[in-house]
């Protein structure tokens, strides 16, 4: 179970940038005195076996939220609990529990697929025997044995994506965080990722999945959290999210929530 409670992240501008911003007309309510509140108040939770879709326009604070969840960034305020344990106080625990994949993450080009995945397995402290077992299991699951010895710079996009997935889950994480994992992928490569996420539904793992593609949310997600201007504006089931709009589709609901915010702003 993951619980995100009133999460906030503020970045301080350097002196030069702060000075330049003083001269500009600021319309973003997240702008503060020499600081930017990238995330102001985000809360949601995900139960094991569930997939949560994290939605929001560009710059809403989704990636910052996911980076805090994965411990890459330290929250300014709020709590992140995995099975009741506050990961901001024990980031090492979080790194062992979380598997992270984004559309931007890459592989080491001059290493083979197996070397790439092995490297991250060892970085996560897996012993040789356990690592070999995990490699075999994941490579079989993702049908990767045929190109395991290929160098990463020789892979097709689909192969690359499968290798990235293998790398993200090699340490058998309890929580999977996907930050726009299908961005820039062709239909077949995207399907590989979506099928993989689908395979985790109903298991003891929680999946958080940030995307701009609402059809993916419809297909995969049990719950939805919409973030806009650094705040979570909606958290509930996918059905509840659809019901926000009169037409009952995700697209209209999304626009309705984001539009409301724009009008208020």
């Amino acid at each position: 179970m993951i619980e995100i409670k009133n999460l906030a992240k503020t970045f301080a501008y350097d002196k030069k940038e702060a000075k330049a911003r003083q001269k500009k007309v600021i319309t973003d309510p997240r702008e503060g005195e020499g600081v930017f509140h990238a995330v102001k108040d985000v809360s949601f939770n995900v139960e094991p076996g569930k997939v949560l879709g994290l939605l929001g326009p560009n710059g809403a604070g989704k990636t910052t939220t996911l980076r805090m969840l994965s411990t890459a960034l330290q929250p300014t305020e709020g709590q992140i609990l995995i099975d009741g344990k506050d990961v901001t106080k024990d980031p090492l625990y979080a790194t062992k529990q979380i598997g992270f994949l984004s559309g931007k993450t890459g592989l080491y080009h001059r290493l083979t697929v197996q070397e790439n995945v092995e490297y991250f397995g060892r970085m996560h402290g897996l012993a040789k025997k356990e690592l070999d077992e995990r490699l075999d299991k994941i490579f079989t699951l993702l049908d990767m044995h045929s190109f395991a010895g290929k160098r990463a710079d020789d892979l097709s996009t689909g192969m690359s994506q499968r290798a990235s997935i293998a790398r993200a889950v090699i340490h058998n994480p309890r929580v999977l965080v996907f930050d726009e994992p299908t961005t820039g992928l062709d239909v077949i490569s995207a399907k590989t990722v979506l099928d993989f996420i689908e395979s985790y539904r109903g298991t003891d793992m929680s999946v958080i999945f940030s995307t701009h593609h609402l059809h993916e949310v419809e297909q995969l997600c049990d719950q939805v959290c919409l973030i806009d201007l650094g705040e979570s504006k909606f958290f509930g089931t996918t059905e509840e999210f659809s019901a926000i709009s009169e037409s009952g589709d995700l697209y209209s609901s999304f626009l309705k929530l984001v539009e409301v915010q724009k009008e208020v702003a």
Binding site: S70, L73, K96, G106, L107, R110, Y119, R122, A168
Partner: protein, 398 residues
């Protein structure tokens, strides 16, 4: 940490560019190029020393002694010219030199006054300078003969004539060994090359393990592993250090190898002085490079981590390289030597110490001071880079 180090080294060694730039180029290709260029220019100079010189005489019967000196000299060929357009004759290479004696001139010993002759030639290149030096030597011989004759004519004793021609004769008693004399220039040169290689050798791996990780999108994934950030950055530092130091160490060893080949197998004495540098001094040169390489590895790694992309990182590298070159150039300044003050100047101190080690004039107590001051700076910079790598603003700069 060892795991990150091993992975980074594996990647670097699989990159042909790194291998060629860091190892093959300075250790094999450069020495071979230097050898062939040196041999080629040496051969050309030798050719010029024995090359046949075509010389024409105008009114040479006025000074037959002068003409005879030329014609009796080996490899001087007298040619006849029809035209009096001397410039055209020289430029068309029909003749190398034209010696024009003005009509009615007499040998100085006969006329007892100074005489003037014209020498027409084209002397733009270094090779033509060698040729004109040969010609000037004959004039000098002629002048000596004429001087002695004039001395006889004016009844000047031989000793007075000598004093008159050269009031002060200096006999050089230079006690500097050949190693010291050659090392003064070559030592600074070698220090310059080694320090330059230390910086250049660090550059490519730095870009690769720093901003390269950001661009590939692997940095974020790496940060999400349980590995401590300090250990990650220390492993990266160690990779840069290894690449840079091994590049210099291989070069140093290759110099010694080529020095042996050139002096013993090919009988070229030009870099033979290197054979006199003791094993201890060579080891000390290597030791000096450890803190120096660490300094540049830390500075470059900080810049590479800070940069948003490869282009920005490369823009930082040029000033850093300048930061390395300028203090090294100070070691070339005449009179600059290693002392208690200069031992505290980073980079310059290493260049000066290397020069002294190659010359064989080093004060070993100063080496200890230098090592302590450089190691202190290297340590401080390494600490800085580990702290820098922990900053969110640096890692996720956008």
């Amino acid at each position: 940490m060892w795991l990150v180090y091993k992975k980074e080294m594996m990647e670097l060694l699989r990159d042909k560019r790194t291998l060629i730039l860091s190892i093959l180029l300075p250790t094999v290709i450069f020495p071979i190029i230097f050898f062939f260029v040196g041999k080629f220019s040496g051969d050309r100079a030798q050719e010029a020393r024995v090359q046949e010189i075509k010389i024409a005489f105008v009114n040479s019967e006025e000074m037959p002694g002068l003409r005879d000196l030329f014609t009796s000299e080996k490899n001087f060929k007298k040619v006849n010219i029809e035209s009096n357009n001397y410039k055209e004759l020289v430029l068309s290479k029909d003749v190398d030199f034209i010696l024009e004696v003005p009509e009615g001139s007499l040998a100085p010993a006969d006329s007892r006054v100074q005489q003037t002759v014209n020498l027409h030639y084209k002397g733009a290149s270094q090779l033509s300078n060698i040729l004109s030096t040969r010609v000037k030597k004959i004039f000098e011989n002629y002048n000596n003969v004429q001087r002695n004759k004039l001395g006889d004519a004016f009844n000047i004793p031989n000793a007075s004539l000598k004093a008159f021609n050269k009031p002060l004769e200096v006999e050089n008693k230079n006690y500097a060994s050949k190693r010291e004399r050659t090392g003064e220039i070559a030592g600074a040169m070698i220090a310059y090359i080694l320090i330059l290689l230390a910086i250049a050798g660090a550059m490519y791996p730095t870009l690769e393990v720093g901003v390269g990780e950001k661009e590939r999108g692997t940095l974020e994934t790496l940060l999400l592993t349980p590995m401590n950030k300090s250990r990650i950055v220390l492993a990266k530092f160690a990779v840069i250090f290894s690449a840079s130091f091994s590049s210099v160490a291989f070069t140093l060893l290759s110099y010694l190898f080529w020095a042996y080949i050139f002096t013993n197998a090919l009988n070229l004495d030009a870099i033979g002085f290197l054979a006199n540098v003791s094993t201890l001094d060579i080891l000390l040169i290597g030791v000096l490079l450890i803190p120096l390489t660490s300094i540049f590895a830390s500075i470059m790694l900080s810049a590479s981590i800070y940069a948003k992309n490869m282009k920005e990182a490369q823009a930082y590298m040029s000033p850093i390289m300048m930061l390395g070159f300028v203090p090294v150039l100070v070691a070339f300044v005449p009179g600059m030597e290693l002392n208690w003050k200069t031992a505290m100047i980073p980079v310059t101190n290493v260049a000066l110490a290397m020069k002294d080690l190659i010359k064989g004039t080093v004060d070993y107590s100063l080496i200890a001071v230098l090592l302590a001051s450089t190691a202190l700076i290297a340590g401080a910079l390494l600490y800085f880079v580990t702290q820098f790598f922990k900053k969110e603003k640096v890692l996720f700069r956008s």
